[in-house]
């Protein structure tokens, strides 16, 4: 199994793989060496998920349009 670096995974992919890793470890039918590697992978995936979750940032902008209807930039959205 070739593992992709966790940085290349989308949040959803990392989430899914973390679930798989946990499931495999919990079934307990993995050799000890493999389970250690699996654990490390799981920890990296968890970190990746946490990083993506920490990136939650609200930034709201309104697109400003030129006279031709094309976007010219952004402006704050005044509620």
């Amino acid at each position: 199994m070739t593992e992709r670096p966790v940085e290349d995974l989308t949040f959803e992919e990392a989430l899914k793989e973390l679930e798989d890793v946990v499931g495999k470890l919990e079934r307990g039918d993995v050799a000890l060496e493999d389970s250690i590697a699996l654990y490390d992978r799981g920890a990296a995936l968890k970190k990746r998920c946490e990083t993506k979750l920490a990136e939650a940032e609200e930034k709201v902008a309104k697109i400003t349009l030129g006279s031709d209807g094309q976007p010219t930039g952004t402006a704050p959205l005044d509620d």
Partner: protein, 514 residues
């Protein structure tokens, strides 16, 4: 008005030109019907090359000619379609050159919900036939979009609801494309916004959204009508960015809902569908992390337990060693005693053996040996002398028989015999040689007398004709040239005589047979 009402004699009736009366009628009609709403069914619609639109409105009893000038056509909130029940708004006017009155239409609206729905069904059927509603066209929504593009009015409850719900669940970057959500500008605005978002490049100055929400709050069917327009539906269908539609309330279904990738019943629901709940995810990730750790610990504990179990089954080192250790102890105790015993035993044997070992024994055995040796030694000298004497005697006897004069006499005799034989051999050889030489000389002399050259000296000659020896006249005559050899040389003479045979002559001529 009194012009027409007054029943006056023709002489008093004022006279109009055609243009005058036409202008008067125009003024009257325009004055009276400056703003009217007319309901009717649309007849044939024609758009002239100039851009003006001509159509008829009719009911079961009358027909009204309608015209919309080019500038007005683009501002119509609905395009009249043949068969459509509409309410046209405008003013009445006339067209003098054809003696015609007509309605100048400024706006067209479907007459009632029924007409609108009928038109909508027609559009739906068309788009469905094109396959734009097919489930396989629906794109999957991203699990966690980074940038969300919202197409809606920048003011009002809708955008606030969406932002609020996003903030609650998972704060994201939101780009709002402001559009009119009702009225004539609505459809072109919304279509342009969807297309505009799709034209953005990912990571550009304006980040391209990875999810679009097209939203509008509740309203009448007329209010929501922009989202039933074909251009909006086509723009949404063509969007490469997954699109959630959320127009009106749950019971309102607009055309865009059929082509969007997901139809949310309300703008708030759209925001809920757009992002997962961050806190739930964090808790979930946390729980996965916990389970990960526990599973790992469990794996280690299980193996530890197994190790302990196996180790317990393994016999203790002490137990294995105990008998050996005891044997060692026993033997270690016995060791000094055994050594002493062994030493004593060896010492005893040594003393036993050493007891019989004395110098007198050795001396007596040496004396015995010396005695035994003395006897043959005494006989050794006389025996040698005797043997030497015998040998010398034998040598002397042989020497006496060996005399030099005997050998010299023998040598002399043999030498004389050799000289005699040598002389005899030389004599015999000489005699043999003399005889042979005499015989050779005699033979040579004979050879001389027998050779033809001696004969030549006596006056004879040898004759050769043409190189061959000539011994007779016949041969001499035949030869062309004769050579005479004398004792002192050779002479050549001409051919001998005339030829024996005359040259052959031509045979006599014979008569012809014919």
């Amino acid at each position: 008005m009194d012009l027409f009402e007054e029943d006056a004699p023709s002489g008093n009736t004022p006279e109009f030109s055609v243009a005058e009366i036409s202008g008067a009628v125009k003024r009257t009609i325009e004055g009276e019907f400056g703003h009217v709403r007319v309901r009717g069914e649309v007849g044939r619609v024609v758009i002239a090359r100039t851009g003006h639109m001509y159509f008829d409105l009719k009911d079961d009893r009358a027909t009204l000619a309608c015209v919309s000038w080019k500038g007005q056509v683009s501002r119509l909130s609905h395009r009249p379609e043949e068969g459509m029940e509409v309410i046209a708004t405008g003013k009445m006017t006339t067209f003098g050159p054809q003696s015609k009155y007509q309605l100048n239409v400024e706006d067209v609206a479907p007459a009632g919900a029924g007409a609108l729905m009928a038109m909508l069904e027609k559009r739906k059927a068309m788009l469905q036939a094109e396959g734009l509603f097919a489930p396989e066209r629906k794109a999957a929504l991203p699990f966690l979009p980074e940038v969300i593009g919202v197409v809606t009015s920048p003011t009002g409850a809708v955008i606030r609801d969406i932002l609020h719900r996003l903030r609650d669940r998972f704060p994201r970057k939101v780009l709002v494309w402001p559009v009119a959500v009702q009225g004539k500008a609505c459809a072109p605005d919304v279509a342009a916004a969807i297309e505009g978002f799709n034209r953005m490049t990912p990571g550009g100055a304006l980040p391209r959204p990875d999810l679009l929400i097209v939203a509008r709050g509740g309203g009448s069917i007329e209010d929501l009508w922009g989202f039933n327009e074909e251009i909006v539906a086509r723009a949404a269908a063509a969007s490469e960015i997954p699109l959630i539609s959320a127009v009106g309330h749950e019971t309102d279904t607009t055309l865009i809902d059929y082509v969007s990738d997901y139809r949310a019943p309300t703008p708030t629901a759209a925001a809920e569908r757009a992002v997962p709940v961050r806190l739930e995810l964090m808790a979930w990730v946390e729980s996965q992390g916990g389970r990960l750790g526990q599973a790992m610990q469990q794996a280690l504990r299980q193996r530890e337990q197994r190790l302990r179990d196996i180790a317990r089954a393994l016999p203790k080192g002490d137990a294995i060693l105990a008998p050996y250790r005891q044997a060692f102890d026993v033997n270690a105790e016995k060791l000094p005693v055994a050594l002493r015993t062994a030493t004593a035993r060896k010492a005893l044997r040594l003393s036993e053996a050493g007891g019989s070992l004395r110098p007198s024994v050795l001396q007596s055995r040496m004396r015995q040996a010396a005695r035994e040796l003395a006897q043959p030694a005494a006989r050794l000298d006389p025996a040698l002398a005797r043997y030497a004497k015998d040998q010398r005697r034998a040598l002397e006897a042989l020497s006496a028989r060996m005399r030099p004069d005997t050998l010299a006499r023998e040598t002399r005799r043999e030498r004389e015999r050799l000289a005699r034989v040598s002389r005899q051999f030389a004599d015999a050889a000489r005699r043999l040689e003399d005889g042979r030489r005499a015989r050779l000389e005699a033979l040579d002399r004979l050879r001389e007398t027998l050779g033809y050259k001696e004969t030549l000296k006596r006056g004879y000659a040898v004759v050769r004709g043409d190189g061959a020896l000539v011994t007779g006249t016949e041969a001499a005559q035949a030869a062309r040239e004769l050579e005479l050899e004398f004792a002192d040389g050779k002479v050549t003479v001409g051919g001998g005589g005339k030829p024996k045979k005359p040259a052959p002559k031509a045979p006599p001529e014979q008569g012809t047979l014919l």
